[in-house]
C-alpha cells in the first residue's frame, strides 16, 4: 500500500481585497461594488503516490506550488478538490524558527514546541537532554529565548522537530540550518532517518541535492504538474535544461529531448572547460623558464600518455 497518495489535489487561493481589509471597508466596497477577489490555483490536479522508502524531490521555480502542496500533505491545509491519504506519523521540517515565545526560556520553549508537534510529555522528558545536546545549547537552557542568536533558534527548532523517528519526513529547504559544523550534523541526522526506511519528501532549489537523495521527482510549474517520474536522472537533466532555456516541456518526448540537450550542453561545457585549461597550461609553459617548462611538459606526457615517448625517455621518467 502506498504511504502517501495524492489524487487530483487542487488547492485554490483567494487573493485580492478579502485579505485584511476589515469589516467597515468590506461593507463599503460591497455597497459601492468595488469589491473584487481573484482566485488562483496554487496546485492543480497533482497526482502521485509514494511507497515506503521512497524519497521524492519536488522541483520547480518560485511560486510553483511546492510549499502549498507540502502544507496539504501535512494537513495544515485541506485540498479544495481531490484527496490526500497518508499512512503513519509525519514530521514536517518546514521553516520552523518562527513561532517561539521570546519571553520564555529555552527549556520552556522546547516543551511547548514539542507539545505543538504532538509529542507526549513522557517523550519530551526522555528526549529533552538529547535535544539540547544536539542543538548545542547546553549552557543556555535557562536563557530567555530572545537572548539567543538566530542560528541558535533555528538549531533548537531543527533539533526538536527531527528527534523523532517518523514514518514520513517532509523537508522544505531546511538542510541549510546553522553554521557549517551544524549543517554537517543535521545532514547526517537526516541521512540516518532516511536510511531507516522512512518515506520522504524534499523540496530544494539545489538540484544536485535532489539528485543525490531522491529516487522520484515531481516537477511543478505555476501549480501544474509537469512530471512525476521514478527516473530522477532524466528529470533532473530536463529540469536543469529548463532552468537555462525557460522552455517548458509539453509531453514526455519533450522531456527526453530536454534531457538529451542538457547532456549535450554538459558535454560541450566539459570540452570547453578542458580547452581553456589546456590553453592556460600552454601559456604557463611558454612563460616559464625553459628547463622547468620542459620538465613539467615531460611529466604531464609521462603521466597521461606515455606511449607517445620513446623507450629511453620513458625509463628516464620512471627514474625521476
Amino acid at each position: 500500500m502506498a504511504v502517501i497518495e495524492c489524487k487530483d489535489v487542487t488547492i485554490k487561493y483567494i487573493t485580492g481585497d478579502l485579505k485584511a481589509i476589515g469589516l467597515k471597508e468590506y461593507v463599503m466596497r460591497r455597497l459601492t461594488g468595488t469589491y473584487n477577489v481573484k482566485e488562483f490555483y496554487a496546485d492543480k490536479d497533482i497526482t502521485f503516490s509514494l511507497e515506503k522508502g521512497d524519497m521524492l524531490g519536488i522541483v520547480g521555480s518560485n511560486g510553483a506550488g511546492k510549499s502549498t502542496l507540502l502544507k496539504a500533505i501535512t494537513g495544515i491545509m485541506l485540498p479544495g478538490k481531490g484527496s490526500i491519504k497518508t499512512d503513519g506519523n509525519i514530521a514536517a521540517l518546514l521553516e520552523l524558527a518562527s513561532g517561539f515565545d521570546n519571553d520564555m526560556t529555552v527549556k520552556e520553549n522546547a516543551y511547548l514546541r514539542g507539545a505543538m508537534l504532538g509529542y507526549t510529555r513522557e517523550f519530551m522528558d526522555s528526549k529533552y537532554e538529547e535535544i539540547i545536546h544536539f542543538a548545542e545549547l547546553e549552557n543556555f537552557e535557562e536563557y530567555l529565548f530572545k537572548q539567543l542568536s538566530s542560528g541558535m533558534k533555528s538549531r533548537l527548532a531543527f533539533s526538536i522537530a527531527c528527534l523523532v523517528n517518523p514514518d514520513i519526513l517532509i523537508l522544505d529547504e531546511v538542510l541549510s540550518v546553522g553554521d557549517g559544523a551544524f549543517r554537517k550534523k543535521s545532514g547526517a541526522r537526516m541521512k540516518e532517518i532516511l536510511s531507516g526506511g522512512v518515506t520522504g519528501i524534499l523540496v530544494s532549489h539545489s538540484v544536485s541535492q535532489v539528485r543525490e537523495l531522491c529516487n522520484k521527482i515531481l516537477w511543478l510549474d505555476h501549480g501544474n504538474q509537469i512530471l512525476f517520474t521514478d527516473d530522477p536522472e532524466t528529470a533532473c537533466d530536463a529540469y536543469e535544461e529548463f532552468l537555462i532555456t525557460k522552455k517548458l516541456p509539453k509531453n514526455e518526448q519533450d522531456i527526453h529531448e530536454l534531457a538529451e540537450r542538457f547532456k549535450i550542453r554538459q558535454q560541450l561545457e566539459k570540452e570547453e572547460k578542458m580547452k581553456t585549461e589546456a590553453q592556460k597550461l600552454e601559456s604557463i609553459l611558454e612563460k616559464g623558464t625553459k628547463d622547468s617548462a620542459i620538465q613539467a611538459a615531460m611529466n604531464i606526457i609521462l603521466k597521461n600518455c606515455p606511449e607517445m615517448l620513446d623507450e629511453p625517455y620513458r625509463s628516464q621518467g620512471d627514474a625521476s
Binding site: I14, L23, I76, S98, M116, G118
Partner: protein, 264 residues
C-alpha cells in the same frame, strides 16, 4: 448513540492534546505575569482600583443610598471584566499564533481554550476578593452562596463560545477588534453596573434580561445582597445563553476552521 460516541471521541482527542493544553496554559500565565511578583497582585489590584473609583464617584459625589452599593457595583465589575478579558483574549488568540498555525498541524481551538483558562483563574482570584468584601459589608453568608458556581460556570462556557465566534470573525475582518471595543463600551453602560434598574418600568426591566452579562451579574446580586435563589426559569435562561453561544461558536469554528490559513 452517535452523539455519545462522538463525545467519547472528542474526549479521547482532547486527552491526546492534554500536554499541548497544559503547555499553552503555562505560556499564557507566563505572558500574563511576565515573571514579576507584582504581576499576580496587579490582576487583583486592577479591579480593586476600578471599584474604588466607582465607589468614590457614585457614593460620595452622587450620594447613592442603595443598600450594599459597594457589593452591588463590585458584582457588576468583576463579572464584566471577566467577560471582557476572556472574549478579547479569545478573539485575538488565533491571529496571535498565526506563525504557528501556518507551520504546524495542530488543533487550533486549543489556543482559544488556554486563553480562557488564564482569564478564568484571574476571575476566581477576584471572586475571592469579592467574598472578602462581602464579609466587610456584613452580608449574610449561607449555603446558597454555593450556587454562585452556577453563574461562574455559565459565564465560562459563554465566554469560550463568544471567543470562538470572535476569533473567526477577527481572522476574516481584522477590524473586529476595534469594533468590538466600541461594542464593549456600550455593553458596559447597558449592564447596570453602577446604577439600579428599579427606576425603569417592568417592561424595560425584562428587556435588560436580553443581555446575558446582565443576567449573570443579577444572579450574583440576588444571591449575595438579596439572599434569594433565582427561579428555575432564570436558571434555564442562563443555560440557554451559555449553550447558545457555545454551540454557535463551535459551529463557526468547525465551518471555517480550514479556511483560516488563507487569510493569515
Amino acid at each position: 448513540m452517535t452523539v455519545l460516541r462522538e463525545t467519547k471521541q472528542s474526549i479521547r482527542r482532547f486527552a491526546k492534546n492534554q500536554f499541548l493544553f497544559e503547555e499553552l496554559v503555562k505560556r499564557d500565565f507566563r505572558q500574563r505575569y511576565k515573571r514579576t511578583t507584582l504581576g499576580m497582585a496587579w490582576s487583583v489590584l486592577s479591579p480593586l482600583l476600578t471599584l474604588l473609583i466607582l465607589k468614590v464617584v457614585f457614593t460620595q459625589i452622587f450620594g447613592r443610598n442603595t443598600p450594599h452599593f459597594t457589593i452591588y457595583m463590585f458584582a457588576g465589575v468583576i463579572v464584566m471584566s471577566f467577560y471582557k478579558e476572556a472574549t478579547k483574549k479569545g478573539m485575538t488568540s488565533l491571529l496571535a499564533n498565526a506563525s504557528i498555525i501556518t507551520k504546524i498541524n495542530l488543533p487550533k481551538y486549543m489556543f482559544i481554550l488556554s486563553r480562557n483558562v488564564s482569564a478564568f483563574v484571574n476571575f476566581l482570584l477576584t471572586i475571592g476578593l469579592f467574598l472578602i468584601f462581602c464579609i466587610f459589608d456584613h452580608i449574610q453568608f449561607g449555603w446558597h452562596f454555593l450556587l454562585l458556581i452556577f453563574p461562574i460556570a455559565c459565564e465560562l462556557v459563554m465566554n469560550i463560545g463568544i471567543g470562538m465566534i470572535l476569533s473567526v470573525w477577527n481572522i476574516f475582518f481584522r477590524d473586529t477588534e476595534y469594533l468590538y471595543d466600541v461594542f464593549l463600551t456600550l455593553l458596559n453602560y447597558v449592564s447596570a453596573i453602577f446604577y439600579t434598574v428599579d427606576r425603569f418600568g417592568a417592561k424595560m426591566q425584562s428587556i435588560f434580561l436580553l443581555n446575558p452579562v446582565y443576567v449573570i451579574i443579577k444572579y450574583f446580586r440576588m444571591i449575595t445582597i438579596d439572599g434569594i435563589i433565582p427561579s428555575l426559569q432564570y436558571h434555564a435562561l442562563m443555560i440557554f445563553y451559555a449553550l447558545f453561544f457555545l454551540l454557535f461558536g463551535l459551529h463557526m469554528y468547525k465551518k471555517y476552521n480550514h479556511q483560516f490559513i488563507y487569510y493569515i
